[in-house]
């Protein structure tokens, strides 16, 4: 018997009992929709994290003042002022695996343009900072060495600050007052978006490090930096760079034996890679949970197919009497089961994709529906049909024609 005819018979059988077919499919529909939606939300999360990794810049090590406990929690870092511009220079010259290092200081305060004012983060950073963070300007220019060396009062605005102080106007060349001190705006930075911690990275004003050290932050000694940002030469040497920095600073800060270090290094990409891993694991877990409902749906299909085989015993007998072979009957019921699950799978894919899109619209959360996940879901729904349809189909094909014909 040809496939088309088998398909036609199966379709007729499903059409005959529309409501039952639909209810039977429901388990698969829900299962597949859940799998699709979960995978979409999960890969959306992975996407967000990888975007954030990209927004921080790759291969970055952060050196912070203060010590760590064994659990990785920083303690006593609040007012510690243990890192200096000299440390930054030493890292640049003595650590072969380091590409760039930049000291930063951080403060916060009002920035004023005419009658507009905005409370924001004020970052002092050497010109290398923007290389490290891979953060170009979209208007004007970035810092150069003269700005840094001369402690010139120039600043770069983050997008959020620029919008709040200047609206649509071009800020480049204007004067703003940062903590009441006038600064010339020389550039506007490209939009970065949210940091992994959920902060708006564009809500910041940048000034040269030395300018900040002199005018905007108070410190016990000159040349104190709040943190050092380091870029390793490549992903392969990032761990090497970290240990080079550690041993260099241990030496410079005379930390030996049991003495606790007065600084901490953090490999940001590594932290985010872990976050990415866990979000992937999470979406896998969600997918696994969702696929349990697929199995439940499959059992439902098996149940209904068994009922259907019993109900149609006489039909099976008739078909056998007029020449259907065991395999014809087997294929007929297998086709019916697979058709049921694949149809359910298609509806489920539609529902899952629609649901994921709705969630992403409503919660402003990106969802990614990959073609692979659709193909996987579709193949999987077919596999559920084959797996759970086989036993009922086998049962139908194994019927004795005489008994089947006599069945009431």
């Amino acid at each position: 018997m040809d496939f088309l005819q088998t398909l036609k018979i199966a379709l007729r059988a499903l059409r005959t009992n529309k409501m039952r077919s639909f209810l039977t499919m429901l388990g698969i529909i829900i299962g597949i929709a859940a799998v699709i939606a979960m995978m979409a939300v999960g890969s959306g999360a992975s996407y967000v994290i990888s975007q954030q990794i990209a927004s921080i810049g790759s291969n970055i090590i952060l050196v912070l003042p203060g010590s760590t406990t064994s659990g990785g929690l920083r303690t006593g870092s609040g007012g510690a002022q243990t890192l200096s511009s000299d440390d930054v220079k030493a890292i640049m010259t003595d650590c072969p695996s380091v590409a760039y290092a930049a000291g930063t200081v951080r403060s916060s305060g009002q920035v004023v343009n005419g009658n507009m004012n905005w409370s924001t983060v004020i970052m002092g950073g050497a010109p290398e900072l923007f290389e490290i963070r891979e953060w170009p300007v979209v208007a004007g220019r970035s810092f150069n060495q003269q700005d840094e060396d001369g402690a010139i009062k120039v600043c770069l605005l983050g997008q959020t600050v620029a919008e709040n102080l200047f609206g649509a106007a071009d800020p480049v060349g204007s004067i703003v007052r940062i903590k009441k001190i006038p600064f010339t705006v020389i550039g506007v930075l490209e939009r970065k978006g949210q940091s992994p911690q959920g902060q708006d990275q564009d809500d910041a004003v940048f000034v040269p490090l030395r300018t900040a050290q002199r005018n905007l932050v108070r410190s016990q000694r000159t040349g104190i930096v709040g943190a050092i940002m380091v870029k390793a030469k490549s992903e392969e040497v990032i761990n090497k760079a970290e240990s080079e920095i550690q041993s260099l600073l241990n030496q410079r800060h005379r930390i030996t034996g049991g003495k606790e270090a007065d600084f901490t290094t953090r490999n940001l990409s590594e932290i985010l890679a872990v976050a990415e891993q866990s979000s992937k694991a999470m979406s896998l877990l969600l997918g696994a949970v969702a696929s349990i409902s697929l199995i439940v749906g499959g059992i439902g299909i098996m149940n209904i197919m068994l009922v259907s085989v019993t109900e149609r015993t006489r039909e099976i007998g008739i078909r056998m009497a007029i020449g259907a072979k065991k395999n014809d009957i087997l294929w007929q019921f297998m086709t019916e089961a697979v058709l049921l699950t694949m149809l359910g799978g298609l509806i489920g894919i539609g529902l899952g994709a629609g649901g994921a899109t709705a969630v992403s619209r409503m919660l402003d959360w990106p969802t990614l529906i990959s073609p692979q996940s659709i193909v996987i879901a579709f193949v999987f729904s077919g596999a559920v049909g084959i797996f759970f349809g086989f036993y009922p189909a086998k049962k139908a094909a194994g019927l004795n024609p005489i008994d089947a014909l006599r069945y009431e």
Binding site: G323, D328, L405
Partner: protein, 231 residues
């Protein structure tokens, strides 16, 4: 004339647990091409058991069965299915049509399993329906047809594959007498066209349509109105 069917020493023993029941006790007869045979006998005398064996739905415990010269005894289930499909046509007491399926598709069904293409199937099915006088009822579902019409659909289905023999187990059992006469008229007409028919009935007036009557009793043949070919 050559024998289409030749049964020799057919025994059929049913075993239920440790009990054994011999439903056919070594029967032998042959049927020539073009014959119209009625098998008669009391209920439980083994008529249906014999028909099931003739129809290749069941295998005898002992004895040999030649159908159209082929020994059915050693065949695999798939070969038997093929024989049922190509050499035999069945008509049942309860019609046994597929519900919710148009008459013409019921008639086509043997051709579906024979692997014919849809165009050829439809053409043969339509001509079989014409032969049984059901033109115009092609798209009716069985529930939209009278008992007599349903049995005609079943006869068309039995005819459509151009079988060597049509086997009918109490084809008029569910029909009133005037409809029975119509159906028997149809069988007679088909037989005149050269189709071999073996029919089970326990009604004498129905059996009278056949040219030969074989009577069963307790699993044996007690009379055959045309004994010359019985071996």
């Amino acid at each position: 004339m050559s024998s289409v069917i030749s049964l020799t020493g057919i025994r059929r023993v049913f075993s239920m647990g440790d009990q054994q029941f011999e439903a056919l006790k070594g029967i032998s007869f042959s049927v020539d091409a073009g014959e119209f045979v009625a098998i008669m006998g009391a209920s439980g005398s083994g008529k249906s058991t014999c028909m099931n064996i003739l129809g290749c739905l069941d295998l005898p415990t002992a004895g040999s069965y030649l159908l159209d010269g082929l020994d059915v005894g050693g065949m695999t289930p798939n070969q038997l299915a093929d024989i049922r499909n190509k050499k035999l046509g069945f008509v049942f007491q309860g019609f046994n049509l597929l519900a919710r399926t148009p008459a013409v598709e019921n008639v086509e069904l043997p051709l579906v399993y024979a692997g014919l293409h849809s165009k050829e199937r439809r053409q043969k099915a339509l001509s079989a329906m014409e032969q049984v006088g059901l033109s115009g009822k092609e798209n009716n579902h069985p529930s939209q047809l009278s008992g007599g019409q349903q049995q005609r659909v079943a006869i068309a289905r039995a005819l459509v594959n151009n079988p060597a023999v049509i086997l009918a187990d109490e084809p008029t059992g569910n029909l009133d007498s005037s409809t029975s006469n119509e159906i028997m008229g149809l069988f007679t007409a088909l037989n005149r066209q050269g189709i071999t028919i073996i029919m089970v009935t326990h009604e004498h007036d129905v059996a009278a349509y056949a040219g030969r009557q074989i009577t069963f009793k307790d699993g044996s043949i007690i009379s055959d109105s045309q004994t010359k070919r019985t071996s």
